[in-house]
Structures are given as structure tokens and as C-alpha cells.
Symmetry: C2
Amino acid sequence: MALASTETTTSLGRVEDARSKPFGPAAALSCRECGARYDLGPNFACIECFGPLEIAYDFGRVTREQIAEGPTNIWRYRSLLPVPADVAAKPNMAPGWTKLVKADNLARELGIRSLHVKDDSGNPTHSFKDRVVAIAVEAARNFGFHTLSCSSTGNLAGAVTAAAARAGLDACVFIPADLEEAKIVMASVYGGKLVGIEGTYDDVNRFCSELIGDELGDKWGFVNVNLRPYYAEGSKTLAYEIAEQLGWRIPDQIVIPVASGSQLTKIDKAFKELIALGLVEDRPYKIFAAQAEGCSPVSAAYKAGHDVIRPVKPDTIAKSLAIGNPADGPYVLDIARRTGGAVEDVTDAEVVDAIRLLARTEGIFAETAGGVTVGVLRKLVAEGKLDPEAETVVLNTGDGLKTLDAVADHARPTAVIRPSLDAFRTAIA
Amino acid sequence: MALASTETTTSLGRVEDARSKPFGPAAALSCRECGARYDLGPNFACIECFGPLEIAYDFGRVTREQIAEGPTNIWRYRSLLPVPADVAAKPNMAPGWTKLVKADNLARELGIRSLHVKDDSGNPTHSFKDRVVAIAVEAARNFGFHTLSCSSTGNLAGAVTAAAARAGLDACVFIPADLEEAKIVMASVYGGKLVGIEGTYDDVNRFCSELIGDELGDKWGFVNVNLRPYYAEGSKTLAYEIAEQLGWRIPDQIVIPVASGSQLTKIDKAFKELIALGLVEDRPYKIFAAQAEGCSPVSAAYKAGHDVIRPVKPDTIAKSLAIGNPADGPYVLDIARRTGGAVEDVTDAEVVDAIRLLARTEGIFAETAGGVTVGVLRKLVAEGKLDPEAETVVLNTGDGLKTLDAVADHARPTAVIRPSLDAFRTAIA
């Protein structure tokens, strides 16, 4: 496909191009294990070897200038995603292009020379999930699914129901019944059906796999099951944005949270794409993975030198990362080892400390997942595993307003007084 | 001042220009009532007539191209604000450039032809207050204040403490003690002191006026008291962005919430500036003001045909608008009448309905203040006061995650079930 034809315009020829290429530069589904290729369809597992399918592309030429002319959201990278050229014109949440915050105060506290926080709490429903859902919505449209669904630890449910509302699709989403109040309200308020499951996220996930084989869920697009190959590509945009916001440069080291592990593997994939396309210099980078101690199957395997992940039953305040049987865990191990990074975990107390540290140094109020990455960053520096002289990026993938309970005990008024100067003097002095 | 010298660069000459013009294009403080002019200082009331002071400018030439080259935050408009040319380089929250969402679904429900939602929940602390605070921080720096303070209905307290944390300033903020939990946590988590006052916002405000005259608060910058002329200018950026995002055009009609009334008056001021500078076509526009019935002193005066606002004791779930004695109320009346708009109010039940309407049509979860504007928009259409054929913009100034209680009764799971298909069939069928 010629470069110009990926542009969104109203000229007839180009609209036809968008119609004839509903998945844009995506060429096929490809098995991550055996490399078998399939037509683009609502499939997620290889029928040869049961390996996970991912998107294979035929990119053609992509330039920095072409990207810079795009909108200030993820669609500026549409020529690197499985979406049509006119994607930005359809009703969608327009996520992405969140701030890359130069975190000099936090860097000073941690003894790091150069640190940025990629703050994805700025997305429409205040988590990185808006990115992945936006791609899944486009796939659902292409496959004629009328209902959008997912298993979720909370953030995804809100992102799916919001995106479905705006796109005019039905939604029915599934969460563990014991989630944070803010996540329950947010997943309900946009309309659609919200179903609480008595069990862990892994129980919810198993239930959704059953449902997808049943006539009940037959015409449904489960964003993280049968639309997973498309959905997962949305995480690449985090990496594209970080590189572009650094002036088209991949950072030396990056700290990424691990739930299923999908986000981390896609950031690695995106960095490799940018290098292959000549959009950034080909330099080594290290990827560090962060988990909460109460759900650290990948960290445990890494430390034990294993290649296989042993599932755990999660027990942590970092509920958005509470996936005890992470599908992409082995790939995370692989990437951390290959790039010279590491996998590390922190306690719930360290998570709370890190949330407060980030808030008081940079004015960023992260959810528990952000506490995990900042806490792990601190631990990695202390352990000497992270180079304090190298350019570092740490991800905050969600918003503190969704996990208020984590810090509520520490975030109280200094005093409650009558409106008088005497009362103020007494309380503050 | 020549145009080029307003650019932020590292060349010596321009940095000197930033130093010698710490308030950029601002020329003086000017009394809104009698027109008396004062040097730029930490003052807010005219010593001649006690009228409110506002910023007077000497803009020079400002072009669309110059603005478009700026960053994607409020500093793209730095040549229209009381800030130095190098403001973007100092540690700040970089608010603004929030989405102007084309709201076709909501427009259809309301029977309006063209509707956009300016969604300021996308700001760093998820309310429009980040805009005004960013300007106040710069003024505090210029005046040598080491502590940032405010009276707040909640959103402002969070914006001030976050901005102070990042800027390296101390903070001590004051709120009514009975605010929403999310706003209390958010105003505490960034560090600084948070003081709850037993009373209404108007009590808090009176207390701050006392404090500012006392030695205790002598070297403090109260963003909405002694820094108010600077602070208030931040609201102009809402208008600049709306015009630029519409393709440099002022909308025919706009619905704006009224707490103190400052935001509305500054949006009107900004539209007039854009016309005077030739940045947009000089066409009439109508400004509509929105209040909650439980705190509607301006709406009451408007409907009664009065010029004077009679203070009320607020009783509404829209706590961020619960200012019973709004300082800029008379100016709001003036602008609504002059532009051919109106002032209207809605009940708390209508606020909740409107929050849910906006969420299920556009995937935007607004706080109660957004429910007020959308509810008033709906009412104005029904009453025939708003032209359904004209281009309309409605403001959402805050985030639903901060006022969960307003919708919590309506936003529950459809069902809570065991993870089995039979349980799902029974629950959903």
C-alpha cells in the first residue's frame, strides 16, 4: 500500500482504500510459537500448536513526519496498527498521547539522573485500557459483533462499557465481585451489563472462555479473548508515544507492570518495530517487569531461574495486577532476560509508600499498579539492578481515584477546625 | 514586545526577555468597576471603589500559526496569559488541551443538530482547576510566596496541592469538612496541609480572608484571593481551546456552570479577545449559565429580573458549585443578558439523570457539575431557550470518580453470580 493512501481523507479513492483494508497494515494472524499464519479473523489460538496468535504486518514505509501530522491520540500511529485508515473518523474514545512527565523531583529522591513517568491515568477512563479497547472496538465492528465483552480486574470493564456506549455497541462485562467501589460504579455508569463473579479474576477468565463456546456468547466480541490479537496491539502505542515524546529515542531502561504480561511483550514488540522501520536508532534497551508480592508468579519464576510460571492465588491491594495465571508470563521472563532487565516485586506496604512518594514529588496520583512500578523502580535502584545514570521511564497505568482505599488511612485532613484564626493557630502550631 | 520574543527558546536574548517580563503580555491590574489601573502585584481589590481587579494586557500581534507551534497544553496560549515566555520549561502540571468531544449520540437524544462536550475531566487532577492553578503558581513564584493556599469546594484543593508538590512549594488548603471522600483523599495525598473547616464554602472563604490579613498567612499565595486576578485568567484557556478545536470559530451557544461565576466571565473575556485579535470571525454568541437548584442565587436573580444576587445557604449534591455568595454573580447576569443567553437551574435528581445520560451516550463520566450543565442544556432545549439548530458546546468541568455517591445507587452490577453458565443464564434471562 502506498504511503499516501493510509491518510484519512474524504476523497473517494481513499475511503475505498479504508473499506478494502479494514485492518490497515495488518496482513495476517501469526502463531507466536510455531509461526503458522491465518487469515485475519476473530481467533486467538493456533489450531496447530495452541500457541497464541498475534498480528503480522506489511508496514510499507512509515515516516516521523507522517506520524506527526496525525491527531494527538493513538490514531497518529494508525499505520502501525490493525485499523483502517479512516479509524479516527468513527465514534471512539480517542485515547492516548498521555503525558510523559519529566520527573526531576522523584529522580532526585531515588538518586536517578534522568527519569520520566509515562502517566496513562490521563486516558478517557483513566487507565491504559482505553488504548487496547479502542483497537478491539474496530475489530468488533469489522467482524460484525454487536456486543462487546471482557473479563476484567476493573479498569478494563470501565474502558469497555465506555467505548461501547460511544460506539453504539451493547456491552456485557465480567469482574470479580469484590472489586473497588470506584471500579464497580465506573463499569456500571455507562450502561451495558456488569456481572460480578464470585471468585478471582482467573475464575472470571475461565468463565468467559466457557461462555465464548456457548451460544449465549456466540456473537460477542470478548476484547481480551477472541479479539485478543487485535486488542493487545493497542499496548504498542505506549512504546510509540514514549519514543516520540523523548524525541524519537528508546529509553535505556523501562519499568512496566505485569498482570497478564501482554502489555510488556507489546512494548518490546513496538520498540523492535520502531528500530526495524528506522524511526529510532538501533540501541540496546532493558525491560524491567514489576509485580506485587501478593501476586508475583512471574517474579518468583524469574528469581528461581525457571521458564515455567506456577499459578498463584492473588492476595494484594494491587487488584488490577491480580492475575494469578498470567498468559504471557513466559514471554515476560524471556524479554527481561534477553534485554538484560529483571523481574521484581514489592509488598503492599511498599506499594502504598510508592503511591505517596510519586504524589508528593510529582503531583501524580497513581492507582496501586503505579505504586507497584514506582516501588519496584526504587527497589531496583537500591539493589543495583537498575543503572541510575541511564535514561529511565516508569509506567503509571491507572488512576489513584480508583483505588482510594489503598491510601485513605494516610490521606486525611491535617486538622478539622471551626472557622477561626485561634482554632487554626491551635491546630497547626 | 515583538512577536518572536514571546517564544520560549534557550537563546540568551529571549531568556532575558522572559526574566524582564515575568508576567508576559500582562501590563497592569485594572479595576473592573472604575477602571483604575495598578502595577502588577498580589492585589485583588481596587482601593478606590473596592471593585475586583483583573489583568489588562498589551498583546501585540498574535497569530494562529504561533499558537499552533506551541505545546499541547495551556502554554500554547502563553502570549495571551500573565506568564513569562519560558513558562512551559518550569515544573508545572501542563494542564489543558483537553478533548472537545463531538457528541452526536447526546445531540440525537436531545434533538440538537451540532453538539460538543468540552471535557475537562482529562486534566491532570481531573478538573478545570488545574488551568487556573497553573497561572497562580507562576504568580506565586514571581511574588516570592513559599506557600500556596486556597479555599476550595474540593477540586481546587487537589489541584493546588498537586501543583505545589511538583513546583516545590509548600501548600496549606482549606475545605468544608463534609466534602466527598475522593476529594479529601486527593487533597491530602500530594502532601501539604489540608484543613477541614466546620461550615460551608462561604465560611471557609471568609476564614481565608481573615487569614490573609493575619501574620500567619502573610507570605502565602491564596490562589483565589490575593492571586485571584492571575488565577482567574486560566479559565480563558477553555475558550481559546474550544475556538481552536472548532477550527478557529466561536460556537453559537455555550453552557457553562456557575460557582463563583469567574469561569463564565473569563470565557466571555477570552471570546472577546479572540475577536479583537482577529483570530476568529466577529459573530454573536450566546452564553448560558447553569446552577443546581439547591444553590441557585444567580438563576433566582436572573428569573426575578434582579441585578443584585441574594446569598443562599447551599443544599445540593453539586458541591463543587455550592457557593452561596458568588463573587462574580452580577457579571454572570450581565453577560447572560447581553449575549441573549439565560441562567437556568436543575434539581439534584435532574443532575443525576444528566450524569447517566452523558455516560451512556458518550462514554464520559462527569462529576455533579457536569450533570448540572448537561441537565440545564436539556432543560433549555425543552423550554425553547436554546436553539437546537445552532452550534452548541457544553462544559464538563470535573470527573465522576470524585462524586461517586451521586450515582452509586444507580450504578450497580446487573447481577452477582457463581462462575457458571447456568447461573449466568438464570441471572440474565
